[in-house]
């Protein structure tokens, strides 16, 4: 596999896995939670680096999962005091955690494999040379291998619990009346969002993760009301964003992650405008 191929495949894997899981955030009218978690997992990631002294996959995922659920939980707790609305509570939690993360990064630069800019827009260009070594074996480029595993896990999760996810997303009250706890599924979903985010985060940075959590899902949401086609379209738009973004970035010689994000936005606005024109006619 050529280095360029690795970058493209990494981009597609990020876009599809984030696009699938992010759709549920949009359906729950909780899209900014994706933004929040993409920021707040940073201290978890840094601490996992610092404690284990390596970039082991397992501590990284545990750290991310914990911080992700914690973000949702603290937000819930603060808004329960009834003096802070939920949106502000979410904002306070993620800006605080992200600030802590950035400070940790700036203090321990050199000891860990991250810097302030990389946190935002990643180093996807170099993914090919960052290898995943397990049991002394070079399994392949680290980012796409991990991302492929996460994508499979995400798809399995959505496939196995399709009914629960669907009902708690579209009609939480009805779900509760059927004894399917919408709250429990909210937290379970947070675990999967966090895992997906952390897998993408190191290689592509926060910006692309946020963009792919929201844009493909929002675009497909404009086109259909059925969950399964929505998921498939989301994956399709994610893939198109990755391909188009990569192509534009190599034309302009600029940040690949950000180009993919922007291309996802272009697809959204094209569909959005077509829909508006069709509706007004």
């Amino acid at each position: 596999m050529t280095p360029d191929m690795t970058v493209i495949i990494t981009g597609i894997l990020v876009a599809v896995s984030c696009g699938l899981i992010g759709l549920f955030l949009i359906l729950r009218q909780n899209a900014m939670l994706g933004d929040a978690i993409s920021h707040s997992i940073l201290p978890g990631l840094v601490l996992a680096f610092l404690i284990t002294g390596s970039r082991n996959v397992l501590p990284m995922f545990i750290g991310a999962g914990v911080v992700g659920v914690l973000t949702a939980f603290i937000t819930e707790t603060i808004s329960k005091t009834e003096r802070v609305y939920k949106d502000a509570a979410l904002g306070i939690v993620f800006t605080t955690l992200f600030a802590i993360g950035v400070i940790l990064v700036s203090i321990f630069t050199g000891e860990i494999d991250l810097d302030q800019e990389c946190v935002l827009y990643g180093e996807i260009t170099y993914v090919h040379w960052d290898r995943l070594i397990m049991f002394g074996l070079d399994i392949g480029p680290r980012a796409p291998v991990i991302l492929a595993a996460i994508l499979i896990i995400d798809i399995l999760f959505i496939f196995l619990f399709f009914k629960q996810l669907k009902i708690t997303s579209f009609d939480p009250q009805f779900a509760d009346s059927l004894m399917i706890s919408s709250k429990k599924w909210h937290y379970i979903l947070m675990i999967f969002v966090s895992m997906t985010v952390v897998a993408s985060f190191e290689s592509v940075g926060a910006i692309l993760v946020i963009a792919m959590l929201i844009l493909p899902g929002a675009t497909s949401f404009l086109l259909t009301t059925k969950l399964l086609p929505m998921l498939l379209l989301s994956a399709l738009f994610g893939t198109l964003s990755a391909l188009g973004g990569y192509y534009c970035a190599s034309l302009l010689d600029t940040s690949i992650s950000s180009s993919i994000a922007v291309f996802g936005g272009i697809i959204f606005f094209i569909i959005f405008l077509i829909k508006s024109v069709v509706r007004t006619n």
Binding site: M32, G34, A99, I260, G264, F272
Partner: protein
Amino acid sequence: MELWDLTIRFFSMADANVRYVIFGSMLLGGAAGGLGTFAFLQRRSLVGDTVAHAALPGVAIAFLLTGEKNLLIILSGALFTSWIGVVLVNYIISRSKLKLDTALGIVLSVFFGIGIVLLSIIQKSGSGSQSGLDKFLFGQAAAISKNDVILLAIVGTALLAIMTSLYPKFKIIVFDPLFASASGLKTNFLQFLLSTLIVISVIIGLQAVGVVLMAALLFTPAAAARQWTDNLSKMIMLASVFGAASGILGAYISFLAPKFPTGPWIVIVVSFIFVTSILFAPKRGVISKMRLHLNNQRKTNREHILKALYKSGQKLNDWSKTYSISEIANFWSFAESKLKYGIRQLTRQGMMESINGRYKLTDIGISEGARVLRLHRLWELYLSKYLELPEDHLHRDAEDMEHIITPEIEARLVKLLDNPQYDPHNQEIPYTDGKVKS
């Protein structure tokens, strides 16, 4: 020692540069904190996050067009794209079934992406001096110069003046938009103006806090101020003070450690103020609520002891009998530590007295015990007579209510039930002095 020297140098403001940084940080923190209060109350806190991120392409475009780092030009560029961002968010919501949160996420990620694309083009094409633009990501308060402070001061004062003069109108829009339009206010225009003021307050903070974290300076001071007051003007003032204080402290920390970005430190300070507020604010803080809860539990515990001793005295018709701790514990399966604590409090309040390590009720204690039992039985009677609950459903509810019923409600119950003598279980309801009655 060195830390101390630096601290003195910072807060004595002997150094002109330090002065600019302090005034600048204070102004922008105060403006953002005050105006952020409106966004907070309108549940549009996260709009600030999108506004701040959407400023980045403007910063880059202004630089690309003019080729210099003039703050006024750069902030104008930022204002322009941020404002487009806000318009787009509203457009997306009004023209599709997408909701605010999704629209915010879309604009935030796309605009920020465009900003990074432009920034990396600038960095790759130009000389080293241009890389200063990346300071707009996480902020660098130390970069505030004398000219910047003049700009900040003019803009800050203007924001404050407009906010103060339109305060009554903004207040109505925030709390009752329907009433506002019914009473003939131009709500759309005022809302637009308010949003613009908030956008400007975000923009002037970018230099010190950075696009990524600027939003925190809008909603966190407001959330902290909300813990202390229910009054809007006080809340705005408090939020401004919190914002200004975090600005200064953030600048101070960045003065001590100049190689770190300022934004994250300012956020840490303002979040610390928030946590302190939510914990310690009087009446509604977490700690004073816990204390209130604890006091209620203790009162309930004391009243249970009084009631148990009163019932025993009534049964034996002997009010001078003393009881040991374990005897009292048997009446009500009290936990021993709680029982001892309750007895200590009751003794101090003069409701119980101790005789050779054994305890009995005083006269005040007897009438208190009678009161608790009376309320219990009155409530049982009320439930049975007016809600027609079966006999076995009465007790538990009365167990709760006996601690809550006020003298006024008691008087009304007595009147409503026509001075009843017996409860539904045919037990006597003790009035004023149980001793004589029984």
